[in-house]
Point group: C2
Chain length 154, copies 2
DNA sequence: TCTAACGTTGACGTTAACGTCATTATGATG
DNA sequence: CATCATAATGACGTTAACGTCAACGTTAGA
């Protein structure tokens, strides 16, 4: 059981942000002590770390993260795969909807990866030019040093 | 030569956004007609597309994109690799600084890619569970259909 | 040349994602 | 049990990234 300040230290978020994420439903509300103090578990911390990852890495808005986390929660089994619907027809419908959403998200991720890789290549090319420039100048300096030494020796 | 509305259509940005990007220095100010109308070139459009890519794919803030674009511009040769500095010492210093920044950015990109791939794997696992669920229900429905047919035949 | 459609420049509005008080309650500690 | 660091709540403030509206100038076509 952690208090909010420990969670803040663990995750790097501020206390305000943690409460805010709870407020907008981005994280499950933790249990409270008798007096009302929030008591977090390890699961809350992990949840937050996934949120942070999605926020920073994917640049998702917090709303988008909510959708994403819906699936992630279901995946980790914290929530049932699909709610208790009796009619197989409705179940199928729901599952197919989820399948479609997931496919779309996967495609989006793939596109992001390929775009990032393209940028990475550009940066690498540029870095190569920079390192080549460094080598060139260093060589020139060596040569002028050599000349100075030569001059001394003559 | 394009007018702002065409650029907007090409890039998917709004006119307001295009002017805003110019205002904050995120894109080079285009030439103006005698009357003051902005006249964009193909280069401007390409520039904007790179900005969009960095914004959407990397989730960079516009400020971060400015730094990134600084290097990208240098890379495409639109700006000199490094300004006309005469002293090789200062040149070296500048180049090494760029090298450091580039290395850092490359590491950041690599981390992003690996995190995205991790998320992708999770989503794929989940999708597999969903498709399995779909298959299971479809099979059940087939079986009950078969029973009905059997009942008819008896 | 006249006009409708488009462009420009302010200037204020908006939303997301928090930051920053102030006030009041809680809880571990000597 | 007194006290002092923490926690909670509420409310207002802030910043980035545009949206929107008004007032006015520009341009291309009949």
């Amino acid at each position: 059981m952690f208090k909010i300040d420990e969670v803040a230290r663990e995750t790097g978020l501020t206390k305000r942000t943690i409460r805010y994420y709870e407020e907008i439903g981005l994280m499950p509300a933790p249990e409270r002590s008798e007096g009302g103090t929030r008591q977090y578990t390890q699961a809350h911390i992990e949840h937050l770390q996934r949120v942070i990852s999605a926020r920073d890495v994917l640049g998702f808005s917090l709303q988008e993260i909510q959708e994403y986390m819906g699936y992630a929660q279901a995946l980790t089994g914290q929530r049932e795969l699909y709610p208790q619907i009796r009619e197989p027809e409705r179940q199928l419908e729901k599952l197919r909807e989820m399948d479609g959403t997931l496919e779309a998200q996967l495609r989006a991720l793939e596109e992001k990866v390929s775009k990032i890789l393209a940028m990475k290549q550009e940066l690498e090319q540029f870095r190569d030019r920079v390192t080549a420039g460094i080598a060139r100048i260093e060589k020139q300096e060596q040569q002028s040093e050599a000349k100075i030494t030569e001059g001394k020796n003559s």
